[in-house]
């Protein structure tokens, strides 16, 4: 009897997590070795609740209702759909195939999690096998032979523990991790799907904000805050903008200790030569005493009117430092004082992880392919692995990736930081191989499909 496949999504949204899902579903539905293809709603939460949807039925139903075969114009395939079916180029294009490609490419450019996500991390099975036993019984009941989990560090940990548990039990239930995270902090992969679209969005927006900054004949320090609690990967996008833009940047990442004194000196020095400056800061930078900057307002007893902390806020704290220096009686930061600077703190907030109107095509296609590869890997008999990307041809040559797999144990519970050697000695710029690493990732434009002026998405339930 054929085994069934179960796929689920976990962790924070990205703009291309559904591209991987799309690849998984498309491949799984095409493989005869697989019985039913199920999706768990809201990650492992849905597994515990046995809240599964039959994806064969769902896809069929959605395809019919959203893309009626009779209205398919086989001469008008979207660019993304064309790339998605590149491997099948020689096959004849029929309305049926067209419908299928239209569906999978629209799902691929739907941001966040079409199956729903969760943030539940499982305990160690040695300490508490309860959850694992429950999952095992559910998998048996539903005849699951392949479990594909799309997620970040914590999800790779869950996948790893599950694979070990099944292995120790001598059960052939194969568990494969599919990486995603805008944070780009996974080991065992050149870059994480989701990251490239986020930095394309961020660096595009920074170039737009530069134009804002230069619009008036004024001295302006614009402070932009990026996500990333523990690593400066997203903030590194500012290096791409600086290379292509017109205004100098001060870039502060978590990998360096943040010093208020040094920040004010940096701004002061740069303002001597430039009327406008962009400051790019990671939300999670810490000072010499290890305190998060965003906790300053709170720790100093100054809460907002309702006593709650506002998410982020690091940029606003930096803006405060500048105002303080500008207003201070002391003459230390003379340029800041004299230049009568305008300041503004901007947060990219949630949009930096779901901006389907500004996707990296490289990212979408890689995420899609990783989904397909995960199904292949499971069918080839592997378990406890994560599908991965390896960059080939060196950093300076043409950009190409190999698809491969790495043991989940290499990946789980670790956080990859920005390489120290990328951070300049001055502490506020990025250098070395940083730009060579970033540049190819943002290549290729791709956005969600727009219908009558707005993006169209697919929800699976």
């Amino acid at each position: 009897m054929k085994k069934n496949l179960l796929v689920a999504q976990s962790g924070g949204p990205t703009a291309v997590i559904n591209a991987s899902l799309s690849g998984v579903i498309k491949e799984a539905l095409e493989r005869e070795e697989i019985g039913e293809v199920y999706g768990a709603k809201y990650g492992v939460e849905g597994v515990f609740r046995e809240d599964f949807i039959n994806l064969r039925d769902t896809v069929l139903e959605k395809k019919r209702s959203i893309f009626p075969v009779e209205s398919m114009d086989i001469t008008n395939l979207s660019p993304l759909a064309e790339e998605i079916c590149q491997e099948e180029r020689d096959a004849e294009m029929t309305p049926d195939r067209m419908q299928s490609l239209a569906f999978f490419s629209r799902l691929a450019t739907t941001p966040a999690s079409a199956l729903g996500s969760c943030r539940r991390k499982l305990q160690n099975p040695e300490e508490d096998p309860g959850d694992f036993d429950t999952i095992f019984h559910i998998f048996k009941k539903w005849n699951i032979g392949y479990f594909l989990y799309i997620g970040g560090n914590d999800s790779m940990d869950t996948a790893w523990k599950l694979s070990l548990y099944f292995q120790n039990k001598g059960e052939d239930i194969r568990v494969i991790g599919v990486p995603k995270t805008i944070d780009n902090d996974l080991y065992g992969i050149d870059h994480c799907p989701g990251y490239a679209s986020s930095i394309k969005y961020i660096s595009s927006c920074l170039l737009e904000l530069e134009q804002e900054c230069m619009a008036y004949d004024k001295n302006y320090v614009m402070i932009v805050e990026m996500m990333g609690r523990n690593a400066g990967w997203l903030t590194a996008a500012a290096a791409l903008s600086e290379e292509r833009g017109s205004i100098p940047y001060l870039i502060y990442v978590e990998e360096n200790t943040f010093s208020k004194e040094k920040f004010l000196q940096d701004v002061n020095e740069m303002l001597e030569k430039h009327p406008q400056i962009m400051v790019a800061v990671s939300e999670g930078v810490k000072d010499e005493e290890g305190r998060f900057l965003y906790s300053y307002e709170k720790e100093e007893g100054e809460k907002d009117a309702f006593g709650h902390t506002i998410a982020g806020g690091t940029g606003a704290v930096l803006e405060g430092f500048l105002q303080e220096a500008a207003d201070s009686e002391e003459g230390k930061y003379t340029v800041i004082k004299e230049k009568n600077i305008k300041t503004r703190a901007i947060e990219f907030n949630l949009l930096q992880r779901c901006a389907s109107h500004c996707l990296s095509k490289t990212d979408v296609l890689e995420a899609f392919s990783l989904g397909k590869k995960a199904v292949e890997l499971a069918l080839s008999g592997e378990s406890g692995k994560m599908v991965s990307l390896e960059r080939i041809n060196g950093m300076r040559g043409e950009y190409k990736v190999n698809f491969l797999s790495v043991p989940l144990s290499f990946v789980a519970n670790k956080e990859k930081k920005l390489p120290k050697e990328w951070i300049s000695e001055n502490g506020h710029s990025l250098e070395g191989e940083c730009l060579d690493y970033l540049r190819p990732l943002i290549r290729g434009e791709c956005s969600a499909e727009y219908i009558d002026g707005l993006p169209a998405y697919i929800r699976l339930f």
Copy 2:
């Protein structure tokens, strides 16, 4: 002797203000009646400083350096360039024309002000003719016969006063206003260039944020704040998203008094039926006593750590109301209390007026055409007019606009509000002709030209 033309930009940035500038320059350089074509840097500020650039020279130099003729591929015209040259369709495409179109279409999709902007409003000439006399002498010195001012309400006021001054002096110096403002609050025009791209950006982002909202199996109230100090035009974009999205919206605009009680009741009621809600609020809503909501934190003596007010903040105040209701001992808003809601306040900040990666093609083309029309209008002998758009074929038919002109006196110093009849009786949704008005404006996708993964812009100095 031929008279010269001077163009300047004023007021806040939009994503398409340079599309109008592009239309002005292209038309002006092609008209033999015009001598030199000058651009003033930073609006009237640049006029007072005689800080002019010769646009014929600048355009020539930029064209040569950015788009070398020898590298122009005449078979590969960008879609925008193709539309820009629609009127000249029959002309033969040569590398020279191609270079020119490449330049003007790239300038058209550069956000903010390529000539620089200012916020200076002139006094009444009767009270203080000094500024006007100065401008007059400068215009004489530079042989300016045509002055085109691209801007919003205040800039139309400046243009109007200037045109009256010249008229009273019996001088044939023609002043034409070219409208722009994301605020859409100008009278005498169906909609303002810049507005359409802003609402396309906002409503696209709202649909993306909906996907974020639905990613977890949680009760979620997401609060999004839009610009607009005095009118709810930008917030109206939420009606477009609601029509196409999956989550219900509560929409609060300046045209209605904001009541905290009613807001909490609205949320409470809606949460009974829906796990997730989007709240769209204009930054400038006021309470029953006429107080801006964003001033609450300040007025209650709770400043941030540095004693300065953060721009916007209306969304954060609404978030505070919800937290207060959720934590309160009183059992008034039972659903808010029981449902353990997650809340998040998001600001679109400056990106809503400069998002060149998500432009409305309708907007770009209209803005470009208005620039051209302004030159034609000045040459036809008119002064004291603003070029304008009139929607024809009724609200429900095919969308088409007429280009026309209106007296600047109709436009200056007034603010057009959202029609009262568009606001539903429930006070939190938009109805009637609102959607018919908005829908056509966001049609057509167009973004800045991307090169190697990032947008490419043109600065004129």
